[in-house]
């Protein structure tokens, strides 16, 4: 039905999983929560939640475009938060703490990138290794206890409003603008797509595909460190394991958003829709007081439904 598909708005054509899920979930929660879901207070907290997920999911789109994935971001966020909190306790000030967190991300991202791009190792096992390393280090230096007592600056940053927009949302919007330009308006973006779609052509064209490939993991880890810094403000404490599993939400957001693991095809705005769908799902289940462990199951089922649906569409297109 190519005619009918062309008549659909872009989100339903390019990211059907995210678009359908978003519409259906918003309708369900708006109808069943007695106004609590659509209250202003809840929408502000929902938007900050989605913004935080986007800081991880947007760069994850780049990683998935190279046919890779980064399992280490959730653990890294725990470690970077602990590093930032410790730096603030040590009198480094807020800029110093931010730099320390970003530095942590930079180092782990470089390890991922080097082993994957130059070592030729599978991304899932490399990033699983750095996940263990980061999680273990965060747990070992804190004994599993949250780090706090560093003043109010992170909490004020998390709650700050720029006009009507919460600061985390503004940061996510700025990152989106930056990554959109990077992906669609620069040679780097074209190379990222080519690393996933056609690595051989890239090599023959004399482009240093490996550096591009590695840079994607540095980008992913640095953005996760930035997200970690903001996350510390939410409870004004750095919990070593607070973000474990964020990588799963991020990967599902990317996949729901219509980016493919196998064809070097993707859509950055689709990731925004995917992250919104997951944010709505988790937030709505929270409002309805559904057990957090079942929320994880719901995200997993949503991902599998989207993949099965996407596969059927793909199958139809091929035949």
């Amino acid at each position: 039905m190519p005619m009918a598909e062309r008549a659909l708005p872009a989100p339903f054509r390019r990211a059907p999983g995210a678009a359908v899920a978003l519409v259906v979930l918003v309708a369900i929660f708006a109808a069943s929560s007695g106004g609590r879901f659509l209250s202003v207070g809840n929408l502000v907290s929902l938007s900050s939640q989605v913004a935080l997920l986007l800081l991880v999911a947007l760069p994850m789109t780049f990683v998935v475009l190279t046919e890779g994935l980064d399992l280490s971001v959730g653990a890294l966020m725990g470690l970077a938060g602990v590093v930032a909190a410790t730096a603030m306790l040590g009198g480094w000030g807020v800029p110093g703490a931010l730099l320390a967190a970003l530095g942590t991300g930079l180092v782990l991202g470089a390890v991922n990138g080097a082993l994957i791009a130059w070592g030729g190792m599978p991304a899932f096992v490399v990033t699983l290794g750095t996940m263990g390393l980061a999680e273990g280090l965060a747990l070992a230096v804190t004994d599993g206890e949250p780090v706090s007592g560093f003043g109010d600056a992170p909490r004020l940053a998390w709650q700050a409003m720029i006009g009507p927009v919460p600061l985390p949302v503004a940061v996510a919007a700025a990152l989106y603008a930056l990554l959109h330009l990077l992906l669609y308006r620069t040679p780097f973006g074209a190379h990222v797509v080519a690393v996933g779609g056609n690595r051989e052509a890239l090599r023959l064209a004399g482009i240093r595909g490996r550096a591009v490939h590695a840079a994607v993991y540095v980008l992913s880890a640095s953005c996760a460190a930035l997200a970690a810094f903001l996350l510390v403000g939410r409870t004004n404490a750095a919990h070593p394991t607070v973000a474990l599993g964020v990588e799963f939400d991020a990967i599902v957001a990317v996949v729901l958003g219509g980016t493919s693991f196998e064809r070097g095809q993707g859509w950055l705005f689709g990731t925004v829709l995917g992250a919104a769908a997951i944010g709505v799902l988790r937030n709505g289940l929270n409002v309805l007081a559904v057990d957090p462990s079942l929320q994880v199951v719901a995200v997993g089922l949503l991902a599998i439904l989207a993949l099965v649906a996407g596969n059927r569409r793909g199958g139809r297109a091929r035949t």
Binding site: G136, V297, G300, I304
Partner: protein, 306 residues
């Protein structure tokens, strides 16, 4: 596989170093303890080895172990029957494994994504089922699987050896096993040669799930308690055991003997850390570092060989 002697050598060197560095390592009790702990890790890693040889990946093994152990514990408490617990553990493990197999082979979801999804689903389901409870207290028939001895050797070690031998026979002596290697080495060529690639894929994921069920029973026997999240610390070591054991992450090469040595090396390292009074919080860090070091070494060796 030809690097197996080197890996055994590394294990022996490690054991020698620990014998010299600590008083408690080279005692019969401690060595049997290492073997007993390695058996649980090996059971989880054995199915994963088959999946990786077949060109796939199973990130759900640890969560599957958790869910199988929790459902089996609940089944025992509900019925009071050990047979029901055994059937539930094996059935739950197999069901999660087959779900992975269907997702990968039939729906054609990339393996790491499908099994990462079932990881979170199984883990979330276990948290929901247990609702914060710890279910404990199992009868001797079940405890024996984890703590018993046969001919002076712990029962789980016999189970480990039986799985290693049966799995090795499957991989190297049966036609289906050889076809798993072929599928992992070159899926397209395997399909064109008439190998039922889909069924072989479903088979290895099913076996991997089944081994998680077996591991769940050994776990219940040893720890005598089940709670959500119990298997989480095993995912990294399981992947590391396969990796250190020399099974190719790209599929088509490897074996269970290597994974057995890998599991023994990792357990010996953990045991050594405990004897040297390094806190348990450092274990994931050490395992992660071992994975990255093994990957780095493999990358350097591959470059030199090329």
């Amino acid at each position: 596989m030809n690097a197996l002697p080197a890996r055994i050598g590394a294990l022996l060197l490690l054991a020698l170093a620990l014998s010299l560095a600590t008083e408690g390592f080279a005692t019969a009790t401690n060595l049997l303890n290492v073997l007993r702990q390695a058996s649980l890790l090996f059971l989880v890693a054995s199915g994963l080895t088959l999946v990786i040889i077949g060109g796939g990946l199973d990130l759900s093994v640890a969560a599957n172990l958790t869910l199988s152990a929790c459902t089996a514990a609940l089944a025992f408490k509900a019925t009071g029957s050990v047979a029901a617990a055994v059937a539930t553990a094996l059935g739950c493990g197999l069901a999660v494994g087959l779900l992975n197999g269907l997702l990968v082979a039939v729906v054609r979801v990339p393996a790491f994504l499908a099994t990462y999804g079932t990881l979170w689903i199984a883990s979330g389901a276990a948290y929901w089922l247990m609702a914060g409870r710890v279910v404990y207290g199992f009868p001797p028939a079940l405890r024996g699987l984890g703590t018993g001895f046969v001919l002076g050797v712990p029962t789980p070690v016999w189970i480990m050896l039986a799985v290693a031998v049966a799995g090795g026979a499957f991989l190297f002596l049966s036609a289906a096993g050889r076809e798993v290697f072929f599928t992992g080495a070159n899926e397209e060529a395997a399909r064109l040669s008439g190998i039922p690639v889909r069924r072989r894929r479903i088979l290895v994921y099913g076996l991997s799930g089944l081994m998680c069920g077996v591991a769940a029973l050994v776990y219940l026997g040893r720890v005598n308690a089940a709670e959500a999240g119990l298997g989480d610390p095993l995912l990294l070591p399981a992947v590391a055991a396969v990796l250190i054991g020399g099974t190719s992450l790209f599929g088509g090469a490897g074996g269970l003997a290597g994974t057995l040595v890998g599991a023994l090396i990792l357990t010996t390292v953990t045991n050594g850390l405990n004897l040297l009074d390094v806190g348990a919080a450092w274990h994931p860090f050490v395992t992660g570092t071992i994975i990255l070091a093994a990957l780095g070494a493999d990358a350097l060796l591959a470059r030199r060989g090329a």
